[in-house]
Structures are given as C-alpha cells and as structure tokens.
Amino acid sequence: MNLSSEIPLQYMLVLSTLVFFIGLVSIIIRRNLITMLMGIELMLNAVNINFVAFNHYLFPNRLEGHFFTMIIIAIAAAEAAVAIALIINIYRKVGTVSVDDIEELKY
C-alpha cells in the first residue's frame, strides 16, 4: 500500500511537528518529573513519525528510517527505565518529584 497518492508527506510532517511542540509545552509547563518524562516520550515519537514518513515517502528502497525508529524506541525504553529509576530514587530521598524542589546542583 502506498500512501503517497492519498496523503501528502507534508501532512505527516505537520502532524509530527504538532506532537513535538505539544511535548515541549508539556516539559516546560509541568513541574512533575513524570509528566515531563511523558513530554519527552511525545517528542521522541514525533521524531519517529518523521523518520518513518521520510523512509516511506522518499526512500522506499531502503529501510534506514525504519531502523532508526527501532533504535530510537530501544533507546527510549532504556532512557525511560533509567529516568524512572532516578525519579523513584529522588522521590525516596527528597519525598517529592517536583523539579522546583530539586535544585541543589545550581551554582
């Protein structure tokens, strides 16, 4: 199935842009570490859409975007695991997961 005749590439890209910036907003406005992590997942997925779309529309003879996405998913998994481990550890130590309260490393 080829989507190029049905839906232009630009649609995909705009969609990913929207998701990306929604993720960014999430990071900027939410102070809970977990929500921020969710924002990051959104941004990663936005990028994935891009990769996949480019692969599908522009270079269908290769699978580079596909593999990139896979790798990103793997890294995202690792990142999420580490981040959540950190968050839980921070929660244990500090008793909160709000970034406003975790700023010892400034200066």
């Binding site: 890209l13 959104l42 996949v52 003879n61 896979m70 998913i73």
Partner: protein, 167 residues
C-alpha cells in the same frame, strides 16, 4: 474521501487531541492513559505506512512497556486522586508562545519545501528483510548499531538496578 485518508484523519486527530489532553490534564494517571492512546494511534500510523513490524514494536515496547512503567512510577510517587499543580503563568506563556512560534516556523518550512517523491521501487519490509539487514555487516547492514544498542540496554539495565536499589 478514500479509506486510507479517512483512517489517517482519524488517527491524526486522535494523536493531536490525546497529546493535548495528556499535557493539559491535571490528573496524572489520566495523562498517562492519554499518552497510551497517542502511542497506539502512532502504531496505527506506522501500520498504514506498511511498517507492520515497527507498529508491533511500538505497541509492545511503548504501549506495553514504557507506559506501564510510567504508570507504575506514578502509582509509586503520587496519590491517585491528587491533581498536579496548575502551571505557572509565566511558564505557560513561555511554553505556549515558543510552541506556537516553533510550529509556525516548522510548518512554513515544511509547506514551502518541495519534496521530490521517490521513483525507486519500494521494498517490502518483511520480517525476512528486516532480519537480514539487522544482522548484515555490509552496506545497509545494521549489525553494529544493533550490537551497540544491545550494550546500551545492558548498561541501562545495570545502571537502573544500581540506581534504584535500596542502599
């Protein structure tokens, strides 16, 4: 309106709406569930683009793994009923303005840029091709990244255990 178009619009709408909801909802567990919906919708998008394997991976790892992890951590760190603090006005303004600006820039660029559509014949991303390429060391082979990712995951695993264990 063809079938694929309709499906795309539905998926796109779901992605955008649920992302917004996941950001905007102050009940964190709900936000996580909205995120799950976004991820699932994305898997649908991959499926549409013929990447069935990727769609499956997306579902298994993201929807099945990461979101569950996030939900666990939410349950560990907060009360179910507690609401997140409302965002600070300054942050909200900054974030939204930046996002709108960014969207504007990106969208304009995307729309203005003329992509040359592909003319090569497409290859089917079957399990066989994926498997071959993943283990291949020649051109378009991904053995090295695959191994590196393996090591990374191992390191993350060890690191996570190290960080999270009780001292």
């Amino acid at each position: 309106m063809t079938g694929p178009k309709i499906i795309f619009y539905i998926l796109a709408a779901a992605i955008v709406v649920f992302s917004v909801l996941s950001v905007a909802d102050r009940r964190i567990l709900r936000a996580a569930i909205y995120l799950l919906f976004v991820l699932v919708a994305m898997a649908g998008l991959y499926y549409m683009m013929n990447f069935q394997f990727l769609a499956a991976v997306q579902l298994i790892i993201y929807a099945g793994g990461i979101v569950v992890l996030i939900i666990f951590s939410i349950l560990l760190t907060s009360q179910i009923n507690s609401k997140l603090d409302p965002p600070k006005l300054g942050n909200l303004l900054l974030g939204v303005i930046t996002a709108i600006g960014g969207i504007a820039i990106s969208a304009v660029t995307i729309v203005k840029y003329g992509f040359t559509p592909a003319n090569q014949p497409a290859i089917e991303p079957t399990m066989r091709t994926i498997g071959h390429q993943l283990m291949d060391t020649s051109e378009y082979g991904y053995a090295l990244p695959f191994e590196v990712i393996g090591i990374l995951l191992l390191a993350a695993l060890v690191g996570t255990i190290f960080i999270a264990r009780k001292t």
